[in-house]
């Protein structure tokens, strides 16, 4: 049976050099369904106005559509709209927290050595980083957390799903441990939000970040969830228009959260597109997406592990603890992993990532000079994965 979602994505019907594409790079960014493209276009053709300042009807519809997107985000992750700050991307969400917490150079931030640069550099710049080690397959040694916490720990942060291994982290356990020590926790949901149902109340995390473009929405919009009571600990960072209630020469009064963290004209059309993307995944049912993702993940691990000489990261992790994302290194004489990725694209139309995936430290630690990452999503099917495995088998 053909995949019923594929036709929703105009991009997937294009070809390269006359070959149909097999898109296996959703961990990098997801293609956009027609509903999202239409929502963005509708903003341009029917609203077009700025938000929060509108007195004319177009301003009111822009504002309502923009705020509706905030509600959609909140509903998706079980938060309240007051807790949703729109940023430019996940990276900016981390920077906001790093700056907002007012960290100093001897404050400690604890996270796995496998984190994406986006959940690494902001802490490195502002504070002292304390790493949880990873094993030979790049999976964090999660049990180390307790021993890494000190009285100087200001934050624990980790990827819910690793963008390199596709492994789901035991975030609930980490949160319980960190909270028992009085330390807040930030979750990087960039790779999980489109694959797994997330409920921030159940998780009980303090901050959570993701990017719209990885959940079928437009680029240039990110989300920062801040648990209501945590706003008190977040200083202002970007300031300007749209975030003050009153501004006189004598004093100023800032708007309530989340607006006080959203100075300047936001990416209105992007947020509206994100709202449509969320509606799209909810209609597809998160639970079903999750099941499909786990099945394709298992197929990837199994198929890739069977290739001669392949070193698949996190292969020992059971399939119910991973998503449809698999990274490996394949020994092909005189070819880097990036070369292999190019070759897959050019001679097979198969699109995957090759390189370091913004995780240099991870690669240093496991002594790999780059890896090959295939990531599937709801519009992919078993044949896509078989095509990849077949092409790689030919190569080795």
């Amino acid at each position: 049976m053909p995949n019923k979602f594929k036709a929703d994505f105009p991009l997937l019907s294009r070809d390269v050099d006359g070959m149909p594409i097999t898109y296996l790079d959703s961990a990098s960014t997801t293609p956009k369904p027609r509903a999202v493209i239409d929502a963005v276009t509708r903003y341009y053709t029917e609203m077009g106005a700025n938000v929060h300042r509108g007195v004319h009807p177009l301003g009111e519809s822009s504002t309502t559509a923009y705020e509706r997107a905030r509600h959609a985000v909140a509903a998706l992750i079980g938060a309240s709209p007051q807790e949703i700050v729109f940023t430019r991307n996940a990276t900016e969400s981390f920077n906001l927290v790093a700056q907002g917490l007012g960290l100093s150079s001897d404050d400690e931030v604890v996270f796995p050595a496998s984190e994406h640069h986006s959940n690494y550099m902001p802490w490195r710049l502002k504070a002292k980083t304390v790493l949880v080690d990873i094993d030979d397959e790049a999976v964090p040694r999660y049990q180390q957390l307790k021993e890494r916490l000190t009285p100087r720990t200001r934050l624990v942060t980790l990827a819910h799903v690793s963008n390199v291994t596709g492994v789901v982290a035991p975030v609930e356990e980490w949160i319980a441990i960190a909270h028992a020590a009085g330390v807040p926790v930030m979750v990087d949901a960039s790779q999980s939000v489109s694959h797994l149902p997330i409920d921030v109340r159940k998780l009980d995390c303090d901050f959570l970040a993701f990017s719209s473009h990885k959940i079928f929405g437009p680029s240039g919009v990110g989300v920062l969830y801040v648990r209501k009571d945590r706003f008190e600990t977040l200083q202002l960072w970007n300031v300007g228009g749209g975030m003050v209630n009153y501004h006189g020469e004598d004093r100023y009064e800032v708007r309530e959260a989340p607006f006080r963290y959203e100075a300047g004209t936001p990416n209105i059309e992007g947020a509206i597109g994100l709202g449509a993307a969320i509606e799209y995944v909810r209609a597809a049912k998160m639970d079903d997406i999750g099941k499909h993702s786990r099945a394709l993940g298992a197929q990837l691990v199994e198929g890739l592990s069977a290739l001669p000489g392949a070193r698949v990261l996190g292969a020992h992790v059971p399939s119910d603890k991973r998503v449809a994302l698999c990274t490996m290194s394949l020994p092909v004489p005189s070819m880097t992993q990036a070369n292999i990725a190019r070759l897959l694209a050019d001679s097979h139309g198969i699109l995957v990532s090759g390189g370091f995936h913004c995780a240099h430290i991870l690669h240093h630690r496991i002594q790999l000079d780059g890896t090959l990452r295939a990531s599937a999503h709801l519009f992919n099917d078993e044949e896509d994965i078989e095509r990849l495995i077949g092409a790689l088998r030919d190569l080795v």
């Binding site: 905030r70 209630n245 708007r255």
Partner: protein, 391 residues
């Protein structure tokens, strides 16, 4: 009047006699107007050529205020205190419980959309003294009640209890939310004698929250519109009586026991309305035994905005009828909103998973209805909730 107001130019003049039948026949011969007509050419088109609006505004007799918010509902209105206040008070007095409470020492609080919509007038947070106008305490300061923080809710509760109002004018959805907050926090609320519910459709869930937090308070719908005045007041038997001295109302049959409300204002200097279709559906009652004089129409209930009614092969479902189905299936829910979808509807529900309500609604409408649990529902730009919205 028709000849003096540009909007009504060309309408035939009123009959010379006051004979109700002659008046009714004359009105029926005229076209109705809607919000679109009121917007166009405002304010000149709606001011008598014999009146000097500029002077009246300079003297503070009239001001221009904006009402409502969705694109098709927005309106600016010439607001005339000297007309509004007496007709509102008179409408309220139709209800004996309200009348009894409105003594000289009467304390009143208001919980509706804010005095100022923050983002547009930039006045910042107002002190309680600044929010007390003519003895009435305006509690809310947020344009969007879904952004009420716990601290804000607690401040409103504290002010409510400190003032100890005898009467409250409230948006039912806002008061419902405040009551739920009080219940969750275990805070006992001072019970006013009455609340007049106005601004938008009262939902069963709002009433349920009020009954839980304020069991002895009488909650009565006060139905009207900023542009048209207060038209009906709910009595202690739950029926709505026409505020007949200030408006002439026609109920145009809309089928299925429903009617559209068409208003002609009486005794209004500024912005007189002649056959204005307010855009709502109501249901007529066969009288009421509460003892009020039989001056005009008696309604059994307000059914909601005609634009928000759902037309199906099985008939028209008004917002109130939808509320009966949705809320009737699940008494845990706090708020809901129905959204059109490519095939059928999405039912956004706060306070419950929405499964029972969606099932009941699907059965009633004969279409698919998918439940969507959510923490909050976004009000329109005006701060009012819409019960049914397009895709």
């Amino acid at each position: 009047m028709a000849a003096e107001v540009p909007l009504y130019a060309g309408r035939t003049a009123a009959p010379a006699s006051d004979d109700p039948e002659a008046v009714a026949a004359w009105l029926a011969s005229l076209p109705t107007i809607g919000k679109r007509e009121l917007r166009r050419g405002f304010p000149k088109s709606i001011v008598r050529t014999t009146c000097d609006l500029k002077e009246a505004m300079q003297k503070g007799l009239v001001e221009i205020i904006a009402t409502s918010g969705t694109t098709e509902n927005r309106l600016q209105v010439l607001w005339e205190w000297s007309w509004w206040d007496p007709q509102e008070r008179e409408a309220m007095r139709l209800n004996p419980i309200v009348r009894g409470a409105m003594a000289a020492s009467f304390k009143e609080a208001v919980l509706t959309t804010p005095v100022c919509g923050g983002a547009t007038c930039h006045i910042g947070t107002l002190s309680r003294a600044e929010r007390t106008i003519d003895g009435m305490l305006f509690l809310n300061q947020a344009a969007d009640p879904t952004h009420w923080t716990d601290a804000e809710l607690t401040r409103m509760l504290d002010e409510w209890n400190d003032l100890g109002p005898d009467g409250v004018e409230a948006d039912p959805q806002y008061l419902g939310a405040l009551c739920r907050h009080a219940m969750r926090r275990g805070v006992t609320m001072h019970s006013p004698t009455f609340a007049t519910l106005t601004y938008e459709q009262t939902t069963r869930a709002s009433i349920r929250a009020m009954k839980a937090a304020l069991p002895t308070m009488g909650a009565f719908n006060l139905y009207g519109a900023t542009e048209a005045g207060v038209l009906f007041m709910e009595c202690d038997k739950g029926r709505l009586h026409h505020n007949a001295r200030h408006s002439h109302v026609e109920l145009l049959d809309a089928g299925g026991g429903l009617a559209r409300v068409v208003v002609t204002t009486l005794g209004r200097t500024w912005m007189p309305l002649l056959r204005y279709d307010i855009g709502d559906l109501v249901r007529l009652a066969d009288g009421c035994d509460c003892g009020l004089p039989d001056e005009g129409y008696v309604l059994s209930r307000i059914e909601g905005r005609a634009n928000d009614a759902v037309a199906t092969p099985r008939g028209l479902f008004t917002p109130a009828m939808l509320d009966d189905i949705v809320d009737g299936a699940d008494s845990a829910l706090e708020q809901w909103q129905l959204q059109g979808a490519a095939d059928g509807f999405l039912l956004h529900v706060v306070g419950s998973d929405g499964v029972q309500s969606a099932t009941a609604l699907a059965a009633a409408l004969g279409t698919t209805v998918e439940p969507r649990a959510t923490a909050t529902i976004l009000p329109e730009a005006s701060g009012k909730y819409r019960m049914v919205r397009p895709q």
